[in-house]
Amino acid sequence: MTTMASEPQPPGGAPRIEHGDEAALVARALAGDRAAFGVLAERYAAPARRVARAVLDDPDDADDAAQDALLAALVKLQQYDPRRPFGPWLMRIVANAATDRRRRRTVRRAEPLDPNATAGGPRPDVRTEQRALAQRLREALAELPERRRVAVVLFDVEGYSHAEIAEILGVAEGTVRSEVFHARRRLRVLLADWKEEDA
């Protein structure tokens, strides 16, 4: 199965990986080819880290979860059905690893707030503005229920379809639509407010 033109693509990101190519890489990784696993890890490092960070607010925790997930995926590689796309299968493991880590974590480490993130602070340049917006988006994401924030990241950032996200999260497609809708409504308000402040 190859990527169809009608499938959603991640905005501003790399196009979705060809499935046939992935299946071959997985087969090689299963045969013990370290380089093939390396290619898969390189391709999915960024999405895995972003999805983990959607669950875990601490970037180090998120990286640990993403790493655990990639290694767990390697162990479970024989369970992967090569007729299906690899990405959703891996993202399910990533989301579960991040959720498990969040549940295990007893002390929640808070990321220090960027003083420019608070309204009214000086914003001397675009970079500072972007950092401040990113901080506010992360805070807004953190306020959303976990499934909602993972759903919106998988849909709007990683470009997975509602059906694929339903498979990743193990819920009905309608639930995913609802989660993405509510998450967007909250985040769009924040983005709009930011633009108004900026204007």
Binding site: A41, A45, R50, L137, V153, L191
Partner: protein, 111 residues
């Protein structure tokens, strides 16, 4: 940004997606991948050729050490050299050369 907002919207929101992508940008992916691969190597444990290579290295090192020690000991050991002709002529005989004297006298008598 997409103007309408309905649960049936199947298109990703490019503006929101880009902003979220920046917000969740994890940073140095190469370092992360290197860390994952290092953990992968650790988890995989030693391979048979790795074990053999380690044994071979240890064997070569042990053989070299033994050779060095043996060479040193041989070099230090006192040489029990065979006496030269001059030594034999100069040195006083340890005991009376009974047989030689008899033979010499016999030969001398025959001349």
């Amino acid at each position: 940004m997409t103007p309408e907002l309905t649960p049936f919207d199947h298109r990703p929101d490019a503006a929101l997606g880009a902003a979220l992508r920046r917000a969740l940008a994890p940073g140095d992916d190469a370092a992360f991948v290197a860390r994952v691969l290092a953990r992968f190597e650790q988890a995989r444990g030693p391979t048979w050729h790795g074990v053999l290579a380690r044994w071979a290295r240890a064997g070569v090192a042990a053989a070299a050490l033994i050779a060095l020690v043996a060479g040193y000991l041989v070099g230090r050991a006192p040489r029990a050299s065979a006496p030269t002709v001059a030594d034999a002529l100069i040195a006083p005989p340890a005991q009376a050369p009974v047989v030689e004297v008899v033979l010499a006298s016999v030969i001398g008598n025959e001349r």
